[in-house]
């Protein structure tokens, strides 16, 4: 099935306030797109985790927010990109509970469990890109 991108917008994440801004925009779009309260909370919370990571760990970056459709379903796709230090051991991070800031370490692994599709591309020195897609259901 081909994926159709129906709209696309990009937002910078260079200050902490941008994390909150991205979250608000994702929430608004999810609601417009017909996500129920559970799916909206899931996508918005995931956006919050990834935006915060781009800011805290990646030293800033940007978020692309897209309305997508595949003929059967309507969804939202989010791309977070930073040019920070990257992640050395992605497997360890995705197992959950590992944090270099002595935080909970559940941001990436938790987000993966909130969305339908999750892709991460990161290696030391090259920065990090995370792409997640969620369709209109929890």
């Amino acid at each position: 099935m081909t994926l159709r991108v129906e709209s696309s917008a990009e937002y910078p994440i260079v200050r902490e306030a941008d994390v909150i801004d991205v979250r608000r925009r994702v929430r608004k779009l999810a609601q417009e797109r017909g996500f129920d309260t559970f799916a909206t909370a899931a996508l918005t919370t995931g956006a919050s985790e990834l935006a915060r990571n781009a800011w805290v760990h990646g030293g800033g970056g940007e978020a692309r927010v897209e309305e997508v459709a595949d003929g059967l379903r309507r969804g939202v796709r989010l791309t977070f990109r930073d040019r920070g230090p990257g992640i050395a051991d992605i497997e360890r991070v995705l197992a959950g509970g590992f944090s270099t800031i002595r935080s909970l370490g559940l941001g990436l692994s938790g987000t993966r469990r909130l969305v339908d599709e999750f892709e991460i591309d990161s290696s030391p020195g090259r920065g990090t890109v995370v792409v997640v897609t969620k369709w209109t259901r929890f």
């Binding site: 559970f38 909370a41 899931a42 918005t44 919370t45 909130l114």
Partner: protein
């Protein structure tokens, strides 16, 4: 940022309603305000109402749990109230059930829970 989140005295407890999105600055100020209010009033309990929060990510969840831990070190008991269904579902799905944090449905239940803890203690005291 101090004072951004109101803290009210309700009988022997403090009640605070988190109605703004927490960032690092507001979170720090919130914790400092709460702890100094406990010291100033001698409050034995703290009710944190999050019924206004549409989402709680792991950062905010941790700030809330830490606030309860800080209050606990000072000797005040914390109850988190009003968590929405979709927030509870999202947090548990992410793997963080906020273990160790006491919860109640709403502010009234939270205050009742704190009173029960105190009266049970009191009854046993005079028994």
């Amino acid at each position: 940022m101090r004072g951004a989140i109101p803290i009210l005295r309700v009988g022997p407890n403090l009640l605070t309603t988190v109605h703004v999105e927490l960032d690092d600055n507001i979170a720090d100020a919130f914790q400092q305000d709460v702890l100094q209010a406990i010291e100033r009033t001698g409050a034995k309990g703290l009710v944190i109402d999050i019924s206004s929060l549409d989402e709680v990510d792991t950062y905010v969840a941790r700030v809330l749990a830490d606030t309860g831990r800080m209050a606990g070190l000072m000797g005040a008991r914390t109850v988190l109230v009003g968590m929405r269904p979709e927030v509870a579902a999202t947090l548990v799905r992410m793997g963080y059930a906020m273990e160790g944090v006491e919860t109640a449905l709403d502010v009234d239940d939270g205050i009742a829970l704190l009173a029960v803890r105190r009266s049970v203690a009191g009854a046993k005291d005079t028994a």
